[in-house]
Symmetry: C2
Subunit: 235 residues, 2 copies
DNA sequence: CGTCAGATTGACCAGAATCAAAGTCAGTGG
DNA sequence: CCACTGACTTTGATTCTGGTCAATCTGACG
């Protein structure tokens, strides 16, 4: 995942930036990636539809315009690892040269913008500022991937879940204070390196401990954010 | 970690390329990063010495010339995650903008070359080809980090160890067929997300199963490479 | 109402961590 | 030359987190 550049919040860095943030910033400073926009074409994808597959030649990169996207790696035993959960404004598919290591699928019906890599590279050749911004984007994605690595490797199930909820809250908390989770328990599990039963159990525990409440399975409100922050540890 | 570009071997991609490989290639195609060399200054570091700390402003990037380097992230409970193990020819510290997320320390007495970021960026501004190569390097490091994430999250202790041994064999197998591991069991454990006892037990198991032999704790020969490859799975 | 996919809960199990005790080896000094 | 030290490694016993297997529960939809 490539993120729009800038680092101001004290928040896990694999969190992307919302379209809204980008738009807001654009009024202050010009969007450093605006130079790309004219290269892109917009396309709609259905829920579950694959945008690109593992091993596909990495001919294009993308941005989520509406909806949500996951990147997925299938592993030997039939398991799945979700690399990123992408929301509007997030870039993805920039990371690969040669071929895509993850596939990308729409979690819900979505709109994505596609940029042909060749055209992006060509434009970057002639626009040093764009090139620098692209590289910073990739570097930030790398830092985010490293952070996620530590998270998956060094934290307990409940720490991961706390971290996940805080991340999602920061990215998509609605005006009513509820987070909308566009993905299933299975997606959450595969993103956090857990199984669905564990995800479900931790949700139940959090409810019991009055850390969260749930309107329905996909709408969650963080009641005790401080406790969740403490729980997640300082990764 | 940034790797010298090119992708030919069927080997885990977070493996760097040896100086020897780079030199060999340079006789065929010009080293795409040769443009950087004049910007670098060489420095010696003692065993255990810190090259930069977590949170330090990322003012320089580096390449290992001799010896070995680890990147380290300290986690809440006093634990440690090693992000990369770097051998001669490997670049590191390129990934961070702003500040370093990991620290870097010499595993053994080493020589590293340091490149001021400002100068690198300036040169890249005026050299589109260099800029492209730098970005590809970062993208490859990102892909490697993602692969490592999957490895740490989805595989058993012995799969990780098999993968680690094959990786190290590919990077530093000597003429006598022995791999020299410059790091302690503790480093291996923290690189693979295990504890030292588990690392030790898996080594013992591998010896018992005639997959490896050991001259001493730091010199290992892969006896049954095919079996190790099978063990590591297809991450 | 029945069906079906997804979510929850419970009982049990396995793999790796933790706790504890030796074993190895290089270096030091009598 | 040998005993002593201290760091590192290996091995064993036990614990515990999270996975596996299995049984409901829930809610959307025809």
């Amino acid at each position: 995942m490539l993120q729009v550049h800038q680092q101001t919040r004290t928040v896990p860095a694999n969190i992307g930036w919302r379209e809204a943030d980008v738009a807001r910033r654009a009024t202050l400073a010009k969007d450093p990636l605006a130079a790309l926009e004219s290269l892109g074409t917009t396309m709609a994808v259905r829920r579950g539809q694959e945008i690109y597959a593992e091993g596909d030649p990495a001919e294009c990169c993308y941005k989520v315009v509406e909806g949500s996207v996951r990147t997925v790696k299938l592993v030997a035993d039939g398991g799945r690892q979700i690399g990123d959960i992408l929301l509007p404004g997030d870039f993805f598919g920039f990371d690969s040269f040669g071929e895509h290591y993850f596939s990308a699928q729409a979690i819900s019906a979505s709109v994505v913008k596609r940029y042909p890599r060749r055209a992006v590279v060509t434009r970057a050749q002639g626009d040093a500022t764009l090139a620098r911004h692209l590289n910073e984007l990739t570097a930030k994605a790398l830092q985010a991937a490293r952070r996620q690595m530590v998270r998956l490797c060094r934290t307990s199930a409940s720490e991961r879940m706390a971290s996940f909820l805080l991340e999602m809250a920061d990215r998509s908390e609605g005006a009513d204070g509820y987070i909308h989770l566009p993905m299933s328990r299975s997606d959450i599990a595969d993103y956090l390196g857990l199984v669905i039963e564990t995800v479900s159990r931790v949700f139940s525990q959090f409810k019991q401990d009055r850390l969260i409440t749930m309107k329905d399975v996909n709408h969650i409100r963080l009641v005790d954010r401080d406790m969740l922050v403490e729980l997640q540890g300082d990764i």
